[in-house]
């Protein structure tokens, strides 16, 4: 039995849910960033899987979208981690529950 498209999508769904779990349930800002990166990787896996199992295309659209989304994810990670460091300098904490100064 060779793997079908479904099993790749299920692995991708599992990765996405785990990323969502990390982003929603952890209180540390870096954990939330790790979760978001994991969800982006799951999305990339979907693009590549649909490209591989779909009809042949020229140029390879799925691969291109995955490449661009990796680049955007890298930019997002750099800015996000810089924000974590800036917040840590200001508040001396990285717990997102304590960052409530803008609360009305």
């Amino acid at each position: 039995m060779t793997p079908t498209l479904q099993v790749f999508l299920i692995v991708s769904a599992a990765l996405f849910s785990i990323g969502l779990l990390a982003a929603l349930s952890r209180r540390h800002a870096i954990f939330i960033l790790i979760g978001i990166e994991m969800m982006l990787a799951a999305g990339n896996l979907n693009f590549i899987a649909f490209w591989r199992f779909g009809p042949r295309h020229e140029p390879p659209v799925g691969v291109m979208i995955a490449l661009f989304s990796i680049a955007i994810a890298a930019a997002e990670a750099a800015v996000g981690l810089a924000m974590v460091i800036a917040v840590y300098r200001h508040y001396h904490t990285t717990n997102v529950d304590q960052l409530d100064q803008l609360k009305g």
Partner: protein, 160 residues
């Protein structure tokens, strides 16, 4: 496509991702995250997208994971404290996974095996990047430059 290789890679990836989401120590979680990304890159290789898999290894493990480790070390005084765990997130994640899996399994048109496909060469990717995708490529370059400058400005010392 090899079935045994796929099963091993999938279990490895999901286990490492679970470890990254649930481990208590931040450093262990960051390293498990890097391992999970190795698994995702291996899945890309299995799918025949070698270039994207290698780009993922270079960018995520070479840059993003190292950046995360550096940030953990820079915010270290805070790491020892227990930050707690919100169990509502578990419910939401399980619900999302359940509904996604249910809808994937119910869709019959997804139960296909991979068609035979000639390998994708780097030359094809480069040609596509330089013709069809040249404007998106420039925009991504601009975005990366802006992100670099923005990150630098964010972490610059504040003037008192």
């Amino acid at each position: 496509m090899n079935s045994a290789a796929f099963i091993v890679t999938a279990i490895f990836t999901v286990a490492a991702a679970l470890a990254a989401a649930t481990l208590r120590k931040l450093m262990h979680a960051a390293l498990s995250f890097a391992v999970a990304l190795v698994g995702v890159a291996a899945l890309f290789l299995l799918l025949g997208a070698e270039f994207v898999g290698l780009a993922l290894v270079f960018i995520y493990i070479g840059a993003v994971a190292v950046l995360i480790v550096f940030t953990i070390l820079l915010t270290r005084r805070d790491v020892g404290k227990d930050h707690g765990f919100n169990w509502g997130g578990v419910v939401v994640a399980v619900a999302v996974f359940g509904s996604l899996t249910w809808s994937i399994l119910r869709t019959q048109s997804l139960a296909v095996i991979a068609p035979h496909m000639p390998g994708l060469t780097v030359k094809q990717i480069g040609a596509a990047l330089m013709t069809t995708y040249v404007w998106p490529l420039q925009c991504v370059g601009l975005l990366l430059t802006a992100a670099l400058i923005g990150a630098l400005i964010l972490v610059m010392e504040e003037k008192r």
